[in-house]
C-alpha cells in the first residue's frame, strides 16, 4: 500500500514538474503558494490526524520560522542555509516550550491552550515593535539568487514539499507513527501496554512544530514579506480546515486541502471581499457532510 501511494505521489511530482514551465505566471504563483502551505497542512496532520491532538495554534511555529528568516535575512544578511536551520530550530524550540504546557492537557483544554499560545505569539509579533516592526511587518526578504525568479522558485518549493512529504511520510509509516495512531485510538490502552503516552505526544508536538517552521521558512522567501497576519488565529484556522477538508490522517489529504483553500481564497478574492464568510460556510459544510475529508472518503471507499 505504501508503494502505491509513493508511486502516486511521485507521479504527481513529475506532473507538476513538467507542467511548471507551461503555466502562465499567476497560476504558477498560486501552485507555488499551495506547495508551501501544504507543508504547514502536513505538519498539522501529524498532530491532528495521526495523534488526535487538535491544535488551533499551529500558525505560531510557521510564524516563528518565517520571522526568523525575515529578521536574519534582512538585518544580518544570513543566507538560505543559515536561515533555514535557524528557522526550523527556533520553531522546534518554541514547540518544545509550548508543548510542556499544552501536552499536559487533553481534548478540549488542549484546543484552548494551543489557541491561547498561538495568540501569545501573535501578540508578540504585534506589540514587540522594536523586534518585529509590529503591524508593518518585515518586508524585502531577499530570495536566494538561485531561486529568485518564479520558475526556479517553483521547483525549489516543489522539492521542499516533496522532501517534507517523504520525511513526514516515513514518520507516520514508522513504528513511532503507529504509536501515535494507537494514542489517537486509545490512550488508556497504550498506557497499560507500557507506553509513556506523554512523551510520545510531546515528541509529535515538537516534530510537528519543527515541520511547520520549515514551511514558514519557505513562506518568508516566497512572500518576501512577513507580518502578524501570518501568525493570526485565522491562519491556524485555515490550516485546520485544510486538514479537515482534505482528510485527517492521510497526509495526502491535507496537501489536496491546501491546494483547494489556496485556490479558493485567491479565486474568491477576485470577486468579493467576503472570503471569511465563504471559508466559514465551507468549514461548516465540510464538518457536516464530509467529516473524513476528500481523501479520507476516497480511501474509505477503496478499503470497503
Amino acid at each position: 500500500m505504501i508503494r502505491r501511494r509513493a508511486l502516486l505521489a511521485l507521479g504527481a511530482v513529475v506532473l507538476l514538474a513538467l507542467a511548471g514551465p507551461l503555466l502562465p505566471p499567476y497560476p504558477l504563483t498560486l501552485v507555488t503558494q499551495a506547495l508551501v502551505v501544504a507543508i504547514l497542512a502536513m505538519s498539522l496532520d501529524v498532530l491532528l490526524g495521526y495523534t488526535g491532538l487538535p491544535s488551533l495554534g499551529h500558525a505560531a511555529y510557521w510564524g516563528v520560522g518565517a520571522y526568523a528568516v525575515a529578521l536574519l535575512a534582512t538585518e544580518r544578511g544570513v543566507g538560505l542555509a543559515g536561515c533555514a536551520v535557524a528557522g526550523i530550530l527556533l520553531a522546534a524550540a518554541t514547540a518544545a516550550v509550548f508543548g510542556l504546557v499544552a501536552i499536559r492537557a487533553a481534548g478540549t483544554y488542549f484546543l484552548m491552550i494551543t489557541l491561547a499560545l498561538g495568540m501569545v505569539v501573535w501578540g508578540l509579533a504585534f506589540r514587540w515593535v522594536s523586534l518585529t516592526k509590529g503591524d508593518n511587518g518585515i518586508s524585502g526578504v531577499p530570495r536566494p539568487e538561485l531561486f529568485a525568479s518564479p520558475l526556479p522558485f517553483f521547483y525549489f518549493a516543489l522539492a521542499a514539499a516533496a522532501l517534507a512529504w517523504i520525511a513526514l511520510g516515513l514518520l507516520v509509516a514508522s513504528p513511532f507513527g503507529l504509536t501515535l495512531r494507537g494514542i489517537r485510538e486509545s490512550e488508556s490502552r497504550m498506557r497499560s501496554l507500557g507506553y509513556n503516552v506523554w512523551l510520545h505526544k510531546y515528541l509529535a508536538f515538537v516534530i510537528s512544530g519543527a515541520a511547520a517552521g520549515g514551511g514558514g521558512v519557505l513562506w518568508a522567501y516566497y512572500n518576501g514579506f512577513v507580518s502578524p497576519t501570518d501568525v493570526q488565529l485565522v491562519t491556524s484556522v485555515e490550516a485546520l480546515l485544510m486538514v479537515a477538508l482534505g482528510g485527517p490522517g492521510t497526509l495526502a489529504g491535507p496537501v489536496v486541502g491546501a491546494g483547494v483553500i489556496v485556490f479558493l481564497k485567491n479565486f474568491v478574492s477576485l470577486y468579493t471581499k467576503r472570503w471569511l464568510l465563504i471559508l466559514g460556510a465551507v468549514y461548516i459544510g465540510v464538518i457536516l457532510f464530509a467529516p473524513r475529508g476528500v481523501v479520507g472518503a476516497l480511501r474509505g471507499r477503496a478499503r470497503g
Binding site: P54, L56, L100, V101, R104, A105, A106, G107, T108, Y109, L111, M112, I113, L115, A116, L117, M119, V120, W122, G123, L124, F126, R127, W128, V129, S130, Q232, L233, V234, V237, L240, A244, R274, W275, L276, L277, L279, G280, A281, V282, Y283, I284, I287, L288, P291
Partner: protein, 287 residues
C-alpha cells in the same frame, strides 16, 4: 502619581476588567459544563452583542434597551446555532467545536459587512460616565458600574443554579447528562437554555464593554483567548472558578499592560502555565 495610588488605581482597573471578563467567561464555562464543547464563537457573541447594542443605543437612546436588546438578540442567534447546527453532531465534540469556528468566521465577516470597519463607542448615560475622587485618586464611574454589573450577574447566576428548580435541573445535567435524561430531565431543552444564557451573558459583556473599550472589528478573536485563560485557570464548568479566574486574569492583564506593555499576552501565558503545571484541570475544574 504616588506609588500606593498607582497600585490602588491599577487594582481597581484590573477588577473592572475582570468584571467584563467574568460576563464573557461565565457563559463559556456554563456552556461547556452542560454540553462539553468549547464554543469558539463565544468571542463573536461578545462582539455581536456590542454591535447590536450600539445600534439599539443609537436608535433608542436607551442604554438599558441596548443591554437587554443585545443580550436577547445574541441569545436567539446562539439558540439557532445550537438547535439547527450543533445538535446535528451530537456526540462528536471535535466536530462541534470546529463548527463553532466556522460560525465565528461567518459572524466576523457579517459584522464587517453590516457595521463596517470603523471603531465605535456606545453612548452611555451621563450618570455612569461620571468619575469620582477618593482621597486624591480619581476613579471612573463606568468601571464601578462594570464591577457592580458583574457582581449582580454572579449573584443572580449563583441564586439560579443553587436555589431554583431550573438550576437544579441544569446542575443535574452538568453532573451526568445520561442519568439526568434517565430521570426525565429534558436535557436537550436544558442544553438549549444554557446555551442561550451563555450567549446572552457574553453579549451583555459586549454591550457593557462597548461603552468602555468600544466596538470594533477584531474584538471577537482578541477577547477569546482571555475567556479561555479564565476558564482554563478557573476550571471549566465551575462558577466559583469563573469568578476567581476573571479576577486573577483581569488583575494580571492590567498590571502586565501597565508595567510591561510590550509583552502583552505573555502576562497571561505565565500564570496559565504555572497553574496548569500544578492542576491540569484548572483551580476548580473537573475533567
Amino acid at each position: 502619581m504616588s506609588r500606593p495610588d498607582f497600585w490602588v488605581i491599577q487594582t481597581f482597573n484590573g477588577l473592572s476588567y475582570g468584571a467584563l471578563l467574568f460576563l464573557l467567561a461565565s457563559g463559556l464555562s456554563l456552556i461547556f459544563g452542560v454540553m462539553r464543547i468549547v464554543n469558539l464563537a463565544h468571542g463573536s457573541y461578545f462582539m455581536l452583542g456590542g454591535y447590536v447594542g450600539l445600534t439599539i443605543a443609537l436608535r433608542s437612546r436607551s442604554f438599558v434597551a441596548a443591554l437587554l436588546g443585545g443580550a436577547v438578540a445574541v441569545a436567539l442567534i446562539g439558540m439557532g446555532m445550537e438547535r439547527l447546527f450543533l445538535r446535528r453532531l451530537k456526540g462528536h465534540t471535535l466536530g462541534q467545536v470546529l463548527m463553532t469556528v466556522g460560525f465565528a468566521l461567518i459572524f466576523q465577516d457579517l459584522a464587517l459587512l453590516v457595521w463596517g470597519g470603523d471603531p465605535y463607542s456606545i453612548p452611555v448615560p451621563a450618570a455612569l460616565a461620571r468619575s469620582f475622587t477618593v482621597s486624591g485618586m480619581v476613579f471612573s464611574g463606568y468601571r464601578l458600574f462594570l464591577i457592580a454589573l458583574a457582581a449582580a450577574v454572579a449573584a443572580g447566576l449563583w441564586w439560579l443554579l443553587d436555589r431554583t428548580r431550573v438550576g437544579a435541573l441544569v446542575r443535574a445535567a452538568v453532573d451526568d447528562a445520561e442519568m439526568a435524561q434517565g430521570v426525565g430531565i429534558n436535557v436537550p431543552r436544558a442544553s438549549l437554555g444554557v446555551f442561550a444564557l451563555g450567549a446572552a451573558l457574553a453579549a451583555l459583556g459586549g454591550v457593557a464593554g462597548g461603552g468602555f473599550l468600544g466596538v470594533y472589528p477584531g474584538t471577537d478573536f482578541e477577547v477569546l483567548p482571555y475567556a479561555f485563560v479564565v476558564v482554563i485557570v478557573g476550571g471549566l464548568g465551575s462558577l466559583p472558578g469563573a469568578i476567581v479566574g476573571s479576577v486573577l486574569v483581569g488583575l494580571l492583564d492590567n498590571f502586565g499592560k501597565a508595567l510591561f506593555p510590550e509583552l502583552s499576552y505573555f502576562t497571561l501565558f505565565a500564570p496559565m502555565a504555572l497553574i496548569l503545571a500544578v492542576r491540569p484541570t484548572g483551580l476548580f475544574g473537573r475533567a
